[in-house]
């Protein structure tokens, strides 16, 4: 008994050793070229042109991270990715990629091809950021010199991560956008990236939001609109509200830092009419007062809150109007909310949601609550 049991172990080890010669998926780390990020453009000869940024470390003691960008063309994304072998010998390793940048042109023709491969393949991961380039070329963005990180893609990834404190773009990961594309009653959005002049050099800046209709890009929102969008989507985790406040005829600015914000979207159905109620509750802190208004005392603070509430409200209403008129895509997810809360009402309108959305009435309510005034308890005083 014991003998046979041991022997089955032995057989297994023999098998192991015999088969060890062909460990199929065995690959050493140094044989991989680690993809850090990828930019997708329209190809010149083929359908797609893939610019892949590869991260490398070289040097022995003082090792240095470097990046290299190569451009490959192919009929499909996967074809292009495999074509890279004919350029560099090593197979590209996708699991550590951080960003995908899609050029405007490609985004306008449709995202599905790209997203499908990214979600289907086992090596690629869904939890990476997707950006749409405002300029013509996505490759340009990856090939610029990076400022803080050695690898451009990592830098863009950091930008997206730290957006939380800024809220001027909507970071979105591939699986999220895939879900949104598939879901009924919500339009897809993604972050936008553009080249901007800074210190005489053109560097990429992540700012604004790309709006999709179906899977096709139809336009962009600017930074402030993005903030309003994030408010409505309840995706806002931070950022600054710079408010102009008018008192006694003089205009001065106050910066409010957003600590916490909670948005509730509630569909109201009455007499076949669908109305959305958006109520925002924001907790902010005074972080900067340009001037000498006393907005800290009760009276001034109330005023400040009111100003902030109103400006936020108008921003949101403007955005909703703009989106309804210009794009006609429900990027706020009102439809989803309706489906979740009032499935019956949704059933009746789901087939023509796009049209219904255009005329939907939205009731925006904003409540701003000033929590503190940072380190100073009073505005600075200017003597004579």
């Amino acid at each position: 008994m014991k003998r046979t049991r041991m022997l089955s172990l032995v057989i297994m080890s023999i098998l192991n050793i015999l088969l060890l010669a062909g460990c199929w998926n065995y690959r050493e780390v140094d044989q991989l070229s680690i993809v850090a990020g990828v930019a997708i453009d329209k190809g010149i000869h083929e359908k797609y042109s893939l610019s892949v940024e590869i991260a490398e470390i070289s040097g022995e003691k003082e090792s240095e991270t470097k990046s290299k960008t190569i451009t490959v063309e192919g009929k499909t994304i996967f074809d292009a990715a495999r074509n890279a072998i004919s350029f560099m010998g090593k197979k590209l390793y996708w699991s550590h990629a951080k960003v995908v940048i899609v050029s405007r042109e490609v985004a306008e023709t449709g995202l599905v091809d790209i997203l499908d491969w990214y979600n289907r393949d086992a090596e690629t991961r869904g939890d990476i950021h997707i950006l749409v380039s405002k300029g013509e070329s996505a490759k340009e963005i990856l090939s610029r010199k990076s400022t803080t990180e050695k690898v451009k893609s990592f830098e863009i990834d950091k930008m997206m991560e730290n957006q939380k404190a800024l809220s001027k773009t909507s970071p979105i990961e591939i699986w999220e956008i895939t879900n949104e594309l598939a879901a009924k009653g919500v339009g897809a959005i993604s972050a936008a990236v553009d080249l901007e002049k800074s210190d005489g050099e053109e560097v990429p800046r992540v700012l604004g939001t790309a709006v999709f209709k179906g899977n096709k890009l139809i336009g962009f929102l600017d930074a402030d609109e993005t903030k309003a969008l994030l408010f409505i989507r309840n995706k806002l985790d931070g950022g600054i509200l710079a408010e102009d406040i008018q008192m006694n005829g003089i205009v001065e600015s106050v910066s409010l830092e957003i600590f916490k914000s909670k948005t509730k979207v509630q569909p109201v159905v009455s007499n076949e009419e669908i109305k959305m109620k958006v109520s925002v509750e924001t907790t902010v802190a005074i972080d900067e007062i340009e001037g000498t208004f006393n907005v800290i005392e009760d009276e001034g603070r109330k005023k400040l809150e009111k100003f902030a509430e109103e400006s936020l409200k108008s921003q949101m209403e403007n955005l909703i109007k703009k989106v309804q008129l210009e794009y006609g895509v429900d990027i706020f997810g009102f439809g989803t909310k309706l489906r979740e809360e009032k499935p019956k009402a949704w059933e009746s309108v789901s087939s023509e949601w796009a049209n219904v959305f255009k005329d939907i009435k939205v009731d925006v309510n904003v409540k701003v609550h000033v929590k503190n005034s940072a380190m100073l308890s009073k505005p600075l005083e200017v003597g004579d």
């Binding site: 049991r5 172990l9 088969l19 780390v29 140094d30 490398e56 090792s63 550590h96 990592f154």
Partner: protein, 518 residues
């Protein structure tokens, strides 16, 4: 095949044994000179045999002789307590010469242990063991007078398991001293000792020790049966017996425990285990043995239970880590690179630049080198051992990395596993073997292979039994106080029951549950 060899061997050995028996089969005669000649015949070509003839000054019938082996006896006892009283006292007025031998035994010889013996075998073996044989002319009997007096190591701190807190005595090579060390700790008539001899040629004394009323009879019987089956010419150390009575012959895991510390043995006896003392070995065996014992240290029971539990947990997790770290590293770096954080992946990738060997090969290589160094270090005299360590760790490791033979992470992994292995000194052997097994699993199928290998190891462990007791006993049980002394060491006031199965007869360890020293 193995069986066949064994059978052949044993018949061979029997042949030799009978041969030896014939030689000593002569019986004692009445004539002194004939007896001496017989002994000279038995111990021919043995020049350590010393024969001293002497006679009482007053009683000519008291013509006698002592035989002993040079260096084995305490000559003081011999001179002052045996030879002198017989030689110089006036025996005529004290005793009758009718039953002279017994008279001498009762009235003259000053010794704590004197026996009249006629069996030649017994005489020979006691003489060899350091007793003195006393022959008297006209009697076909001999006296065996205890006079053992060879040099022995004193009771000092055991090298193999030192403690900061706790008793510092360790077993010696003498079985009697060892027994006394345990006896002193358990002052109770229920502590039983049962002697037997094992080894056709060495006649090694072995003592089964247990506490009546605690130890399971079935285990005791099983142990006796297994000891009966041993047919070997010599036992030099308890290790022989450990292997001969062990359950799983093909397993790297020990199913018989061994300890050098009397306090440990006493504690195990109190838990209902059975101890086996072997003469000539400072390591006392205990059965049954479960894997949880391998990571228990004597000190756990003397230190604060919180600290002890932490140490215990560290040791237990060290076992798991020492087995799995190389495999895990290999699996992650060669199959599942996505599991690594990106910066780490980049730096591992950089460190592997220019290294020719695959990671498996370099890992196996380094692990073997580490074991070579360990093996070399343990046998070396201390100063040289240090040198070996320095050369091994610093020079070899550093140079290997610099010469691009292996990558730096591999060295780190090796060193880490090495240290983790050494945390459980009792399990070094199994850990090293299991580690390679898991490593090959990982090399074969990545983390999945590792998990398969892990399950196989588990299956093996589950099938193991030590004297009928499951080897993995209590590892996951919490009922009936069974799990109190496995992953942690519970406070003493809660350990009111002994582990089941081992001490199924009497589970109660403490009758009252006392807390807070009230």
């Amino acid at each position: 095949m193995i069986k066949r060899f064994r059978r052949k061997d044993s018949t061979d050995r029997k042949g030799r044994q009978t041969d030896q028996k014939n030689k000593s089969m002569t019986t004692l005669k009445e004539s002194l000179e004939e007896n001496i000649a017989a002994f000279q015949n038995i111990f021919s070509k043995n020049e350590t045999l010393i024969i001293r003839r002497f006679q009482n000054k007053y009683l000519s019938a008291a013509k006698c002789c002592v035989l002993y082996f040079d260096g084995m006896v305490n000559t003081e006892i011999l001179n002052e307590n045996i030879i002198q009283p017989i030689l110089s006292n006036d025996l005529t007025d004290k005793i009758s010469s009718i039953n002279l031998l017994e008279e001498l035994q009762y009235k003259v010889i000053v010794s704590n242990n004197v026996k009249i013996v006629t069996d030649m075998d017994q005489i020979v073996s006691s003489a060899v063991y350091g007793d003195t044989i006393f022959l008297l002319d006209g009697y076909a009997k001999a006296l065996i007078i205890e006079s053992k007096g060879w040099k022995m190591r004193s009771v000092d701190e055991p090298e193999s398991s030192k403690v900061v807190r706790g008793p510092r005595e360790g077993f010696t090579e003498s079985i009697l001293i060892n027994l006394s060390l345990v006896r002193r700790k358990i002052v109770n008539p229920d502590l039983k000792f049962k002697f037997r001899e094992i080894g056709e040629r060495t006649r090694t004394k072995v003592c089964i020790c247990y506490i009546e009323g605690l130890a399971l009879e079935s285990i005791f019987k099983e142990l006796e049966q297994r000891l009966d089956k041993i047919q070997i010419d010599g036992i030099i150390d308890s290790g022989y017996i450990q292997e001969l009575i062990g359950d799983a012959v093909f397993s790297p895991f020990e199913t018989v425990g061994a300890s050098e510390r009397p306090d440990v043995i006493a504690a195990k006896l109190l838990e209902g285990r059975i101890a086996l003392f072997v003469d000539g070995s400072p390591f006392v065996l205990t059965v049954p043995f479960v894997i949880a014992e391998a990571s228990q240290s004597a000190e756990d029971y003397y230190n604060s239970y919180i600290f002890a539990s932490m140490n215990r947990l560290l040791r237990m997790s060290a076992i798991i880590l020492a087995i799995s770290i190389p495999g895990l590293f290999l699996a992650v770096t060669t199959y599942h690179q996505e599991m690594l954080p990106t910066p780490l992946l980049l730096s591992i990738s950089a460190s592997r630049q220019g290294v020719p060997f695959p990671t498996v090969v370099s890992l196996v290589l380094m692990l073997v080198v580490f074991d070579v160094l360990r093996e070399a270090g343990t046998r070396m005299p201390t100063p040289i051992g240090q040198a070996v360590n320095i050369v091994g760790t610093l020079v070899l490791g550093q140079a290997a990395v610099e010469a691009k033979l292996v990558s730096a992470p591999v060295v780190i992994v090796t060193a880490l596993t090495g240290i983790l292995t050494l945390m459980n000194i009792n399990l070094i052997g199994p850990i090293i073997i299991m580690r390679f097994f898991l490593l090959f699993g990982a090399a074969f199928l990545g983390i999945y292979g590792l998990i398969f290998a892990f399950i196989l190891v588990n299956i093996h462990l589950v099938t193991l039994r030590s004297f009928g007791v499951p080897y993995m006993m209590n590892l996951t049980s919490v009922k009936n106080h069974n799990g109190q002394d496995v992953w942690i060491r519970a406070p003493w006031w809660t350990m009111t029951l002994r582990p089941k199965i081992i001490a199924a007869k009497n589970l109660v360890r403490q009758t009252t549950k006392r807390k807070k020293g009230k």
